[in-house]
């Protein structure tokens, strides 16, 4: 929001309160409402959090209920729940569209402020800063530290130094602990999961990112045509489907062969397929943004000289927008690394990924293993982002504008 808008009111002798009431709030209202709706929708379709936190107290939500039903004897109920999830998700999106799309056209909401005005907090400056920093630390760093500590404690709740052990990390496995499961750094199945996670994320990122570039290119070039709009909406469609419900759809389609469609259930290919489709919206969005930012003329300048399509892509378009395009790869990669609900219905023991292993350890009550794997995932994600960021300057926040 442009500070000029507030200043204009200020010059007309409006008080701070009046400005907030009459100018600021009405202007950001659609954005706030939209955030609310999106948060609601993502909580609605969340699986991991209610599964981890709700299970011990038998607090069931739609997604966990659906998971149980689909694993049980009456999967039909599960598919019905999936359908409900989709309906809820789609209707929230439609409402959101309605909220954002009205006559008063709040175009400034995208966040590019041309004019920032500073507000003097005077004495409140330091307390407010400390409060915010501590608050942020509490919700970001502290949980990580607890994870780390918990993964070293043999008997939960006992913080005596003698209770600390590296058995869950490097132990060879003892009969009295978790049925002789070795520590995660010596555990073949964890390494298999890590390997699967990384390969799956790389492959999904490759397909989603590449399709995103091509899709973005096609959509941006034919902007305004019926075909372009249709393709744009189609690539966005997987975003509307809750991950769990999408997994259920794939489960029902690929569980047994249907005519030409083979039974992919339990294979690595089905994970690649669902991952690619799920992250296509982000990759395409970043592709479209990159292409729109570039404009058509820069390509036409080469076109008119007789430079072929492949050369225009590899010598002109991709080099100029390489960071944006890389972000289009990075985003699916990182989302895929930490994805649980999308894959949980579709994995088999040989295709298990880190997140699903984490879930299974947790289900068995082996919390220390779960905590250790969780840390492992965080480390892999942060490390990947850091390396790519250092090497290329791309980062996840650049892709989706």
């Amino acid at each position: 929001m442009d500070a000029n808008l507030e200043e204009a009111a200020q010059l007309l002798h409006a008080t701070r309160l009046q400005i907030i009431q009459k100018i600021t709030l009405p202007m950001v209202k659609p954005a706030i409402l939209s955030t609310f709706l999106l948060a609601f929708s993502s909580s609605m379709s969340a699986f991991a959090v209610p599964a981890f936190l709700g299970m011990p107290v038998r607090y069931q939500v739609l997604t966990t209920q659906m998971y149980r039903t689909l694993q049980g004897l009456n999967p039909g109920y599960g598919y019905l729940m999936a359908l409900m999830l989709i309906l809820i998700g789609v209707s929230i999106m439609l409402i959101n569209q309605k909220v954002l799309d009205n006559r008063k056209a709040y175009t400034t909401i995208t966040g590019k402020s041309s004019n920032v005005s500073l507000f003097n907090l005077r004495g409140l400056k330091n307390p407010l800063s400390y409060f915010l920093v501590v608050g942020l630390l509490c919700i970001t760093i502290v949980p990580l530290i607890t994870f780390a500590i918990e993964s070293f404690i043999v008997e939960p709740g006992n913080y005596a130094l003698s209770n600390f052990s590296t058995v869950f990390w490097t132990g060879e496995g003892a009969v009295d602990i978790a049925n002789g499961e070795p520590g995660i750094l010596r555990n073949r199945s964890v390494f298999n999961g890590l390997y699967n996670s990384v390969v799956l994320s790389l492959v999904c990122a490759f397909f989603a990112g590449s399709l995103g570039i091509l899709g973005g290119y096609a959509i941006a070039r034919k902007k305004g045509t019926w075909l372009s709009e249709t393709v744009n909406h189609l690539t966005f469609f997987p975003y509307l489907l809750p991950s769990m419900a999408m997994g259920a759809i794939y489960l029902s389609v690929f569980a047994v062969p249907h005519g030409p469609i083979p039974a992919l259930y339990g294979t690595f290919a089905v994970l690649v397929l669902i991952g690619t489709v799920k992250y296509l919206p982000f990759a395409t969005k970043s592709g479209i943004n990159a292409m729109l930012q570039l404009g058509g003329q820069i390509e036409e300048a080469a076109l008119i000289m007789g430079v072929g399509w492949w050369k225009r892509m590899t010598r002109i378009i991709i080099p100029i927008q390489k960071t944006s395009f890389l972000s289009g790869y990075l985003l699916p990669y990182i989302s895929c690394m930490r994805e649980l609900s999308l894959f949980i219905l579709l994995i088999s023991p040989s295709t298990a990924v880190l997140t699903t292993m984490l879930f299974q350890y947790n289900e068995k009550g082996w919390n220390q293993y779960a905590n250790a794997i969780n840390l492992l995932i965080v480390v892999v994600v942060l490390l990947s982002n850091y390396i790519i960021n250092k090497l290329t300057g791309a980062s996840i926040d650049k892709g989706i504008g």
Binding site: G295, Q297, I298, A301, L303, I304, M305, G306
Partner: protein, 370 residues
């Protein structure tokens, strides 16, 4: 050789026509401007000739070769039309140096290395950018970027050069300079230039012929001075010339052979045509008087009041009130006048115009006013 001919070219966007049944004949070596207000279809026309946009119907030929024909199903891709295109925002490739930008097209054509260097040197010298060869576009000023874009476009030696408002991103001073350079360039390269602009002054000063378009329809296609002196209709008369022509809506009181008596509220003036005068008494007409033809003269019979003055040193634009009509005049020289002063006027020249009073406003006659 590269004469460009457009036959009934139409471009539809949905149900509205961006370009409507355009016929145009661009002779070899000419410098044509496509002129019109923004959104009139001039850029679309240029892009269609270059092959960057596909017409809905019609035929386009360049140098005798049909490059587009909706009837015969021909659509030659832009790279095979041997044309150069200069874009409004220059479209320089930001990740290549000036030299790389210029030589990219030649490398693509697989020219030998020494030939490429030779050609680049000649172009950079001609456009005075030799010392910037290793710089990146972002490190150049607008005017320098413009020159690089021109060099890049000229590199492959296209016989026709298309330019889409190439000067609109430059400041006024630089624009003036680039205009003279473009005119020289046209002479030196001996190619056909097609130039899109919304700036009537640019069109007047640069081109050999102006093609004036309004809402996709061709209004007039003639040399600049013809367009200025003999505009086809009120739109053309109003669009060309700064300050704008005076257009007075008047009523014909009586017609006597080549002289008509026109009513300006309670006053009358005589209009004597140099040619035919196809009007009748009682008709609504529009009288067009160029500002430079309104002169202050003590012996003048018209009495007007000065409304405001805009002196600029070389000339002064004076806004007058004449019997309830607004009238603009240009007085040459460093003079200024008192506001609200009463002055006597005369209308000189036999190039005053009479247009039909309808929406189309076709030009009916030319003549003098007493």
């Amino acid at each position: 050789m590269p004469e460009i001919i457009l036959k009934n070219v139409t471009k539809m966007y949905g149900k509205s026509a961006a370009v409507n049944q355009l016929n145009l004949n661009i002779p070899d070596h000419s410098f044509i401007t496509l002129l019109g207000p923004s959104g009139c279809g001039k850029t679309t026309t240029l892009r269609m000739i270059a092959g960057l946009e596909t017409p809905t119907s019609g035929e386009i030929s360049i140098g005798g070769q049909v490059v587009f024909s909706s009837e015969q199903g021909i659509d030659v891709p832009p790279e095979k039309r041997n044309v150069g295109f200069l874009f409004q925002n220059y479209a320089l490739w930001p990740h290549m140096t000036v030299l790389e930008n210029i030589t990219f097209g030649l490398e693509n054509l697989k020219w030998p290395k020494d030939k490429i260097k030779e050609r680049a040197d000649v172009l950079m010298k001609m456009l005075k950018i030799t010392e910037y060869g290793t710089r990146y576009p972002a490190e150049l000023s607008g005017g320098q970027q413009q020159r690089v874009a021109i060099a890049r476009t000229l590199a492959t030696g296209p016989k026709t050069l298309f330019m889409d408002e190439p000067l609109s991103n430059l400041d006024a001073k630089l624009r003036m300079e680039m205009r003279t350079e473009l005119k020289r360039l046209h002479m030196e390269t001996d190619s056909t230039f097609v130039y899109v602009t919304h700036d009537q002054l640019e069109a007047m000063t640069l081109s050999t012929r102006i093609c004036l378009i309004k809402e996709g329809l061709l209004q007039q296609y003639a040399p600049p001075l013809t367009v200025y002196n003999e505009p086809a209709n009120t739109f053309v008369a109003d669009f060309i010339g700064s300050p704008n022509i005076n257009l007075l809506h008047v009523k014909v009181q009586s017609v006597n052979d080549k002289t008509a008596t026109l009513q300006l509220h309670d006053k009358t003036i005589q209009f004597t045509a140099t040619g035919e005068l196809p009007i009748a008494a009682g008709q609504e007409v529009v009288l067009g008087i160029r500002p430079e033809n309104v002169v202050l003269d003590q012996s003048g019979e018209l009495l007007a009041q000065i409304y405001s003055t805009l002196p600029s040193g070389m000339e002064t634009v004076v806004r007058l009130k004449l019997n309830g009509f607004n009238l603009t005049e240009v007085v040459f020289g460093s003079v200024d006048f008192k506001v609200n002063e009463e002055v006597h006027l005369k209308i000189k020249s036999d190039k005053n115009l009479l247009f039909a009073g309808d929406a189309e406003g076709k030009c009916l006659a030319q003549g003098s006013i007493y």
